[in-house]
């Protein structure tokens, strides 16, 4: 019996102590691609921080972040929570068919910010000579409502879209709810959004392109004529990073291949490039950044197509997989992401020569966006 006691205690002490020692002696990890965030590292010793207790907190945080088998432990934690019956982890629903869907409740929609943003947008649109189109894409949880766990709370999209219509009027609004509803019925796999990421898929970006063409008076082309190809079959997106689940299935990323996608001349915040895709990202965690190399404040695209029209897109990252479809319809496209752009946007429109202006955001992103005021700055 004594021997059992001794063996047990030794095992337990080693189990605790070995990871502790390893954290202390191993070089720290800076970034977790899996979780898509920077990790806390052991801090430098600093007397002032010791007395305020800050240093101790930093050390405690670092021990969590630098734990040797951290990724495995994260997965284990998720497995435990799933076993016990939890259906949302870290603000993400564990939805049916291995979908992860961001949990957005009525309380998460910040009404004041939303209305203010719409007012800014409305003011901006009034000042334009160009045609202004607004496409506020439904949240994944709205379009994939049937995949949410039973009784799972989600915000009411009708009241949100009613607010949009009340403030902007119906002019130039491209409402995708019906189209997405049809696509999700037609194809029961949904395939509207990535399973592990908060973005939409190429197929549904194409459906949105179709609607856009109808509204803007352009002639849509057949999906296959764009030559869509699978560029990655191993994409674990942002929602996966929030959950870290052993049983997650990777997504595939499709992208279109046309002479414009390969030959367009780009100026991304001063960096010049040919071709809209950045292959480097296919080897990294954030594979969605394959489209345009991620988000820039301003991207000017000379499409190489002499279509005679110019387009300005005010957008979030949803536009990155959508804009490729439009390369053949415009000679020049400018994309502005207000989060990273600090000059006046209304100046661009008065000095530029744009025929069309497209506002493209996922609607919850738009509602909470703090930079829409830059439209009219």
């Amino acid at each position: 019996m004594k021997k059992s006691y001794k063996i047990y205690s030794a095992i337990m002490f080693l189990m605790l102590f070995i990871p502790g020692i390893l954290v202390l002696i191993m070089p720290g990890r800076d970034f977790s691609a899996n979780e898509n965030r920077y990790l806390d590292k052991l801090p430098e010793i600093n007397a002032q921080e010791i007395f305020s207790g800050e240093l101790q907190e930093k050390v405690s945080d670092a021990f969590n972040d630098q734990f040797i088998v951290r990724d495995f432990m994260m997965g284990l934690s998720t497995s435990f929570k799933k076993t016990i019956g939890f259906k949302d982890i870290g603000g993400v629903y564990l939805a049916k068919d291995k979908y992860y869907i961001e949990k957005i409740t009525d309380n998460d929609i910040k009404k004041d910010q939303f209305v203010q943003n719409l007012m800014h947008l409305s003011y901006f649109a009034e000042k334009q000579k160009a045609e202004v189109y607004t496409m506020l894409v439904p949240s994944p949880g709205t379009a994939l409502n049937g995949k949410l766990p039973a009784f799972a709370p989600f915000y009411n999209p009708d009241s949100v879209y009613n607010t949009v219509n009340t403030i902007l009027g119906k002019q130039g609004i491209i409402d995708l709810r019906e189209v997405l509803g049809k696509s999700s019925n037609k194809n029961n796999n949904g395939n509207l959004y990535f399973k592990t990421d908060h973005h939409w898929t190429l197929q549904v970006a194409y459906a949105a392109y179709n609607e856009y063409c109808k509204t803007a008076g352009l002639k849509p082309q057949d999906y296959n004529s764009f030559n869509p190809v699978k560029v990655s079959g191993n994409f674990y997106g942002t929602l996966y990073s929030k959950v870290i689940d052993f049983t997650a299935e990777p997504d595939s990323i499709y992208a279109i291949q046309t002479s414009q996608t390969d030959n367009a001349e780009l100026d991304c915040d001063g960096k010049k490039r040919t071709g809209i895709y950045d292959k480097e990202y296919l080897d990294k965690k954030d594979k969605y950044a394959y489209f345009f190399g991620g988000n820039y404040g301003r991207v000017d695209i000379k499409t190489g197509k002499n279509a005679g029209l110019e387009l300005l897109v005010l957008k979030d990252s949803y536009a990155n997989s959508f804009v490729p479809f439009l390369l053949k319809d415009y000679s020049q496209i400018t994309m502005i992401d207000a989060r990273y752009y600090n000059n006046s946007i209304i100046d661009i429109t008065s000095s530029g020569n744009y025929d069309h202006i497209l506002i493209l955001y996922e609607i919850n992103n738009f509602a909470g966006e703090k930079n829409i005021y830059k439209f009219i700055k």
Binding site: M1, K2, S4, Y5, K6, Y8, S9, M12, F13, M15, L16, F17, P19, G20, V23, L24, I50, F51, S52, G53, Q56, V59, S60, F63, N64, F67, R70, M73, M74, L76, S77, T78, F80, K81, I84, G85, F86, K87, D88, D106, N107, P149, A150, F151, A152, P153, I244
Partner: protein
Amino acid sequence: MVFSSIIFLCVFMPIVFIAYYLCPAKVRNLFLLLASLFFYAWGEPVYILVMLFSTVFNYFAGRLVMMFKEKLMPVKAKTTFIISIIIDTSILFFFKYTGFFIQIINSTGFSQIPLINIALPIGISFYTFQTMSYIADVYTGNAKAQKNIINFAMYVCMFPQLIAGPVVRYGQIEKEIYSRKLSSENTALGFQKFITGLGKKVIFANQAGALWEEISTVTASGNSVLLAWLGAIAYTFQIYFDFSGYSDMAAGMGQMLGFHFPANFNYPYQSKSITEFWRRWHISLSTWFKEYVYIPLGGSRKGFLRQTLNLFIVWTLTGLWHGAAWNFVIWGIYFFIILFIEKCFLLKLLDKIPKILCHLYAMFFIICGWIIFACEDLNSLGSYLKTMAGAGVPLINNYAMYKLYTNILLLLIMAVCSTKLPVYVLGKLAGRLKLNEIAGFWIRAVFTFIILITSMALLISGSYNPFLYFRF
């Protein structure tokens, strides 16, 4: 430092325990004192001075009281005793109740004293109660004054029970301060107890706490009776598993160090009355109040009226001990009223009705009590109780159904584990299978292994991990 953290589990605990076992017996107390000071200073690098002052002060006060007693000078002994109790209470009052007190004065409207912001040193309520029990024990002759300041400081500052109890009275471990037996059995069984406590805290209390945290912030428009009750039940489990988990961790580490701490919880949610509940909940604190407040005030020996007054005093103080706010006072008086009614006639009545009704009766008032405890703001307390009663909200809503079906398994497991049932069934099963001692030990060992890994996974993933004792 908190027990439920990776740095405590993977660095502090192994280093301190292994070094402690390697220490010669003579310097173990000193080593334990230094380790405890490091442990405390990690979270309170400045306020450790308060604890050190309190320690040194009570050490000398104890010796003075002892000296006067030995020299047969009872008046001086009594004066020293009273002065030191006043100083101990003043320190506690200053750090814990100044803000509350100023608020009360200001609310009378006679004056407007500016509020000063005094942070509450962690564990001050626990160590102050320990030092006061020491002085009282020395004065009444239940214990001898400790002559060695290292031994005394070790008793006051010992890290296992320093921040969340149990309140270990000096007399209870006096002998073990001088000599205690280390054995592989105590280490192994203490380890298992520690991990059971860790699991209670991290696996149960934290998950229940996350549920309560979410529900307690739901506004009236999204609320329902079912949701409010789910929240209340979640909090009921959170506070039990958090507190008893901490006590188990303390007792487990105490055992590993060779001490035997008093039991602090005895399946309180199994109670059939509130009287019984308070015999099973936070036993070390109730005992303290009984021994050092209730009995010295005369207890039940001075007539019914006086006894009622004594009970009222004890329960108001018990409420205030838990935090400096009105809801804690209300919480204490709430239990005074129920206990008073039970004493008068209800206990006899409860004896005659089916047991299941007694359990329901007790749980109902326990759960309502925890809501008073949880809502520091009296307005939110009022609206929460109204929601539970169904005023202006539907019986059931979607959100409640979602929370119910995603948490029902957790709640059921916690309900079973808060009773003696698992221990009883497993014991029977082991008897049936005729398991020998070694096999039984290793089965428990595997179980603790799983609990440890799961707890560490939850801690590392940054799941909700609150510290509830900052106001104690």
